[in-house]
Structure formats: C-alpha cells, structure tokens
C-alpha cells in the first residue's frame, strides 16, 4: 500500500514516508491510550474499552502494513550478523517487546469482549495486567522512537 506514497519522509529523520507516518500514528496512539486510561479512572468504562480496543486494532494494521514489512526487509536478512550494532539491538528489542505488548493487548480484549477463552485460560488480577500492558506499551513506544535516534 505504501508504495503509493512518496519515498522521502517528512520528519527530516532520513526515514521513509511510511516510517514517518507510522511514528506520528504511534505517538497519537500512545496519547490515546493514556486518554483511555483516564476514561477508566473517570468511570467511563465503555468509552475506555472502545478507545483501547481501537488503538490495539489500529496498531495491528500498522504492524501489518509498515513495521512487519520493514522488519522483513531490513532486519531479518542481516539479523545474525549485525545484532551487536546499536541500531539493530534497539530495533530487535522493540520488535520483541512490541509483539509481547500486542499479544497481551489482544488477549485482554479477547477475554473482556468475547467468550472465546475458557475460564482456565483467563488471568486473574485484571487491573494489574491492564496497567502492565500500558507500561509495556510505553516502553515499546519509547524504544520505537529510539530506533530513529540511534
């Protein structure tokens, strides 16, 4: 899809247009997640659920359209040879934590919004897991921004 856009980015980081767009979307999504947490604090639970789920699904789209193709193209072929270089280290950590955050988020949404999982596959202490997810997401976002800096 992103081959339709110009190659050159618009943030002046040397990254592609798709990567710059992804960065902006990710920062907006991070802000939306914090706003979503605030909604829960204010007891607007439905709005909280809609907000967090939308971010999670939008991120899945960004992973599929931008991050995964980029990882396949730039990281995977060279992973074993260049992992000691800082850029690749940060990108690899970002990828691993990002996958963990997305999977945990999907798990929370599946348990809270569907009957797909049986009781024995459900965590307890949901507030703790939701807060962990938010913290993990923040770390992933920071490490993602870090790939632009190193």
């Amino acid at each position: 899809m992103f081959y339709l856009f110009p190659i050159k980015g618009f943030l002046g980081t040397g990254a592609t247009f798709a990567a710059d767009l992804n960065l902006v979307v990710q920062l907006l999504m991070g802000t939306a997640l914090i706003a979503g947490a605030y909604l829960a604090k204010q007891k607007h639970y439905k709005a909280h659920g809609i907000c967090q789920t939308t971010v999670l699904l939008l991120n899945l789209l960004m992973i599929g359209l931008v991050m995964w193709p980029s990882f396949q193209q730039q990281m995977k072929p060279a992973l074993s040879k260049v992992l000691h270089k800082r850029y690749y280290e940060v990108a690899a950590i970002h990828a691993v934590l990002g996958i963990a955050a997305e999977l945990l988020g999907l798990y929370i949404v599946i348990v809270a919004g569907t009957n797909v999982l049986p009781q024995w596959l459900r965590f307890k202490h949901w507030q703790w897991w939701m807060r962990t997810e938010l913290a993990l997401w923040a770390i992933v976002l920071l490490s993602g921004v870090g790939t632009y800096c190193v």
Binding site: K43, Y45, K46, G49, V111, A112, G113, T114, N115, V116, L117, P118, Q119, L121, R122, K124, H125, W126, Q127, W128, M130
Partner: protein
C-alpha cells in the same frame, strides 16, 4: 529452505493452538452452569456470572457481588432491574415478585450474560 520450514511449522503451531482454544472456548459456553439451590447469590468473577442460571422462588432476593478487580454491572435484558456500576466487593440486590425468566448481562462487558429463573 530450512528457514521456510521453520515459518511453516510456526504457522501450523499457531493454527493448532487457535483451534484448541476455539474448541475449549465453545465447550465452556455450552456447559451451562445451573443452580437450583436455596442460594440467591450471584458471584461475578473473572468476567462471568456464577451460577450462570439461578433458580429461586417467587419473592426471593438475589444479590450480585462483584469479586472481580474490575467494575461490572447487572442489567436486565427486559429492563426489569439495573444495577449501578459495581466496583470490587460491591453488591446489588433485587427482589423478584413475579415468576418468570429474567435474562441479564453486564452493560460494560455485554458478552457476560446470566439468567434468574423465578418459580
């Protein structure tokens, strides 16, 4: 070629896990938990009402207690009763004066359902 095999094996493993989870999930839905004991308490725990079906005599008061660490509600599908948002360990009670079947759900997590049968 080896790398390709790893990807195919990973994909197959994910599909197998998904199938197992789906089967396990569907069996838990069909296993309808039913209670006809004198108890008139419904516990809300881990995103489910327990028992899922509660049978009580006419005039009984049913109390819902939220044992989850996140908020839930108990709202009659037919508009007969509606709790406020219950935080952890908060309760809601309703007295059933007429016989009938009263389905209800959590308005925050609508897939959470249960029913009270009044005889």
């Amino acid at each position: 070629m080896k790398g390709k095999n790893v990807w195919v094996a990973s994909f197959a493993a994910v599909v197998m896990i998904a199938i197992v989870l789906l089967l396990a999930g569907s069996s838990s839905v069909t296993a309808n938990d039913q209670s006809s004991a004198a108890t008139s308490e419904v516990k809300i725990d881990n995103f489910s009402f327990g028992p899922q079906t509660l049978t009580v005599p006419v005039g009984a008061t049913v109390t819902w207690t939220n044992r989850d660490d996140i908020p839930h509600t108990s709202v009659s599908t037919d508009g007969v009763f509606k709790s406020k948002v219950m935080d952890t360990n908060e309760t809601f009670s309703y007295t059933f004066a007429k016989a009938g079947t009263y389905p209800y759900y959590c308005s925050i997590h609508p897939k959470m359902t249960g029913q009270v049968v009044v005889k």
